[in-house]
């Protein structure tokens, strides 16, 4: 359309619109980084702050925006869109918002470009700052971390709102009239945030419904890649220099890997390359081709804080100390909170390597009780808001014990305080994998215990116990060999000595158990063993200790 603008005004207007578009993208993406944004006011004008607002420029985002614009400006029918979506650690993604910067034909010829348009654009940016904190995706993005990440994508052209599901809502941020058209900034956001993944760790059947539209192919597959929104800006405090982006690199990589390092799947990354363990917090691999981005430490807090804490839920919380690899012996403390109506005592067992006799029974004891429906009531979601509900169901679905015959399945398993820096396996995965070791054949039937006791009696008559290096019958040893399938080393019980009637004390007594000389008395089962489930063991011990008197 022909305007009365002189060339200087026209040039200024084009520049304003271009930088407004770039700043808009910066504000939107920064609002979805998951951190609080803070910039300083400056009374003396620096000349480089567009629209008199201190909005930092993340180089990667600017680059993406410029690439999408490709030298053009928003015009009628050509809108600049920023799509914000969520991607879970299992690979499912969902569009959350589309921010559109559009231009329509309604012109305001009277307005002064260099003054009024500029100030109004500045006001519109302030409104954008306010509105980006108000849409539902903001709270989701603040909680992003291990379970999901927020990605952004910039495209130019027609607005595509199909991916937002039914009933999406629109909020208009504002409009600015210019001599060449009216700039409109608006946001369409998804309302229905219920979300379910069919693929998760233990392959249990889905518990909630699935949004059908979620898996429909996009009618307009866009070529622009998705990028993660979690990025620590290269500020003066971190001292990270952002690597210069090369165009050829942009085309190749589909996305940037995200921290934390313990994530097994890097969202969107081709080939799903797992990250190396113990990545430095500042993304020091800035020189890498993949351009690893970083996480803020607050994400760890989110992860640790999410386990459900209902009083009726029995949780097995594991805390692992140190950064030992899974192959090292972990010192773990199993603490079980007993739910209501369960008349089992609270067990506190410390397992250290090698030293506690029958420790493998103890662990097994716990595991069997895990799948006991009385002990593990279903993990009912107790969050009230649908947003949080979706997040919890999302993350908790990966925690099933894989025991399909039970009605109740432990579906939420988040080891508290576990620092996910043991790779490639985190503590939760480790526990899940090894929580169901094969049962000892000798424990399966009563006769087994009887025969073992008889073996022992025979063995004791043959050799003086004090000479033996702590071995029991060969049969028992063989069946103990099954324990090697566990990652824990085989634990061999220490027998009583014949002479002094005192068992050799080479183990560390578990705290509070008071294992002392009087422990192995006739007829008294070891405290860590459950008489009700392991009647065989009790019987075995009774006979065992009697034989050595």
């Amino acid at each position: 359309m022909e305007t009365d603008l002189n060339s200087q005004d026209r040039k200024d207007l084009d520049k304003f619109i271009k930088f407004f578009a770039l700043k808009t993208v910066q504000v939107i993406v920064q609002a979805r980084l998951g951190e609080k944004i803070c910039t300083r006011s400056s009374s003396s004008p620096t000349g480089s702050d567009w629209f008199n607002l201190a909005i930092k420029d993340i180089p990667e985002v600017t680059h993406e925006a410029k690439k999408a614009l490709a030298g053009q400006l928003p015009a009628v029918g050509r809108s600049m869109c920023v799509e914000i979506s969520l991607k879970t650690s299992e690979g499912d993604s969902m569009e959350l918002e589309i921010w559109c910067l559009e231009m329509n034909e309604k012109c305001d010829k009277e307005i002064k470009v260099s003054y009024a348009v500029y100030n109004r654009l500045s006001l519109l940016l302030k409104s954008l700052l306010a509105i980006t904190r108000v849409t539902p995706a903001y709270r989701l993005s603040r909680k992003q971390g291990h379970e999901y990440v927020i990605l952004y994508r910039i495209y130019f052209g027609e607005v595509q709102l199909n991916g937002l599901g039914e009933g999406f809502q629109t909020v208009r941020v504002g409009t600015v009239g210019t001599p060449v058209g009216t700039i409109t900034l608006s946001c369409a956001y998804r309302i229905n945030l219920a979300f379910m993944s069919t693929r998760h760790f233990e392959r249990t059947p889905p518990i909630m419904g699935i949004i059908i539209d979620h898996f429909v192919d996009r009618p307009y597959p866009s070529s622009s890649p998705m990028h993660p929104c979690n990025y620590r800006t290269a500020g003066e405090d971190t001292g990270v220099t952002y690597p210069s982006v090369e165009d050829s690199q942009e085309v190749c990589t589909t996305s940037f890997s995200t921290s934390p390092p313990s994530q097994l799947m890097v969202p969107g990354k081709e080939g799903g390359v797992p990250l190396a363990p113990n990545q430095p917090a500042h993304g020091a691999q800035a020189g890498d081709q993949e351009r690893l981005t970083t996480y803020t430490p607050s994400d760890g807090a989110h992860c640790a804080a999410t386990p459900s804490s209902s009083e009726d839920t029995e949780t097995v919380s594991n805390s692992s100390e140190g950064r030992a690899s899974p192959h090292d012996v972990l010192e773990t403390i199993f603490v079980r909170k007993v739910g209501a109506f369960v008349n089992k005592p609270i067990n506190q067992v410390t397992l250290t390597s090698l030293d506690i006799p029958f420790a493998m029974f103890a662990a097994k004891n716990l595991e069997l009780e895990d799948v006991d429906p009385m002990v593990n009531p279903p993990d009912s979601p107790e969050t009230t808001s649908p947003l949080q509900g979706s997040l919890h169901s999302d993350g908790s679905s990966g925690g099933s014990s894989g025991n399909t015959q039970d009605d109740f399945v432990m579906i939420d398993f988040k080891p508290a305080f576990s620092k996910d820096d043991i790779l490639p396996m985190d503590l939760g995965t480790f526990y899940r994998e090894f929580q169901n070791p094969p049962q000892l054949s000798s424990l399966s039937i009563d006769i087994g215990a009887q025969s073992m006791a008889e073996d022992l009696a025979a063995a004791s008559l043959q050799d003086p116990i004090s000479e033996r290096p702590g071995r029991l019958s060969p049969d028992f040893e063989l069946s103990l060999g099954g324990a090697e399938q566990l990652s824990r080393p085989a634990l061999v019980p220490q027998p009583c000595t014949m002479k002094g009637m005192s068992p050799r004390r080479t183990h560390t007594a578990p705290p509070g158990q008071g294992w002392d000389q009087s422990c192995l008395q006739v007829g008294e089962p070891l405290p860590l063993l459950q008489p009700t489930l392991f009647g065989n063991i009790e019987l075995y011990f009774k006979m065992y200790s009697r034989d050595f008197q």
Binding site: R40, S43, P45
Partner: protein
């Protein structure tokens, strides 16, 4: 000219009053503040930069954006604190309101004092509710957060109507339009007042007092 008047209403729990009011007031002031003006020769001026920061609320599931100015924040917190205390001590229904008024000063000749002509007034009516159980409080946290989201959207909608704004002043006039007393930002001249409505509804005494004052001020 006509004064634009906008009214917002919120129902909050006692401990949420402060944060809810600050969220609304800061959002309005974010839109009504510019950088510091630096006048140059020939009547031109340059404008400083306004920084922003996110503020998380402790008692509401909500985050708002405010101007990065500690002085402004302190001034607002002071008056909101007074309002909260007055609400608490009133013992009435827990109804009150705060007014944020933007005005222009018009110099009058002696012996008349300067006129303050408001051009925009934001009124926030607050209704304090008392909740009994922790679960109700948790629900209230989320509900009030959602309500505040709506309020912010309303504020932004009004702001973007681009209705009357005072003209950019010359150097001599700048103090009639802007509050130049702050170090880092320059909001339009504003004043904040509040009022606790007692159980009878409108407060008669304050109205009478204002009538008399206005009459005397001529």
């Amino acid at each position: 000219m006509n004064c634009r008047s906008e009214v917002l209403e919120v129902s909050v729990e006692g401990r949420q009053v402060e944060e809810a009011m600050l969220a609304v007031l800061h959002t309005v002031l974010l839109h009504r503040s510019t950088g510091k003006f630096h006048y140059k020769k020939e009547g031109t001026y340059s404008i400083g930069t306004v920084g922003t920061q996110d503020v998380d609320c402790d008692f509401i599931d909500f985050t708002y954006v405010r101007v990065s100015s500690e002085e402004l924040d302190r001034a607002l917190r002071k008056v909101v604190g007074e309002f909260r205390d007055a609400l608490r001590n009133s013992g009435g229904d827990g109804l009150g309101q705060m007014s944020l008024e933007f005005y222009q000063k018009k110099k009058s000749r002696w012996p008349f004092s300067d006129e303050c002509i408001p051009w925009e007034v934001w009124t926030v009516k607050v209704h304090v509710v008392a909740l009994a159980t922790e679960q109700e409080r948790q629900i209230c946290r989320e509900k009030v957060g959602e309500k505040l989201c709506e309020k912010i959207t309303n504020i932004v909608e009004v702001m973007n109507r681009h209705e009357y704004l005072p003209k950019m002043p010359t150097q001599s006039e700048v103090d009639n339009v802007f509050d130049t007393g702050l170090r880092d930002v320059q909001p339009y001249l504003y004043k904040i007042s509040f009022q606790i409505t007692d159980a009878l509804g409108s407060s008669v005494t304050t109205t009478m007092r204002r009538l008399i004052k206005d009459t005397l001020a001529l």
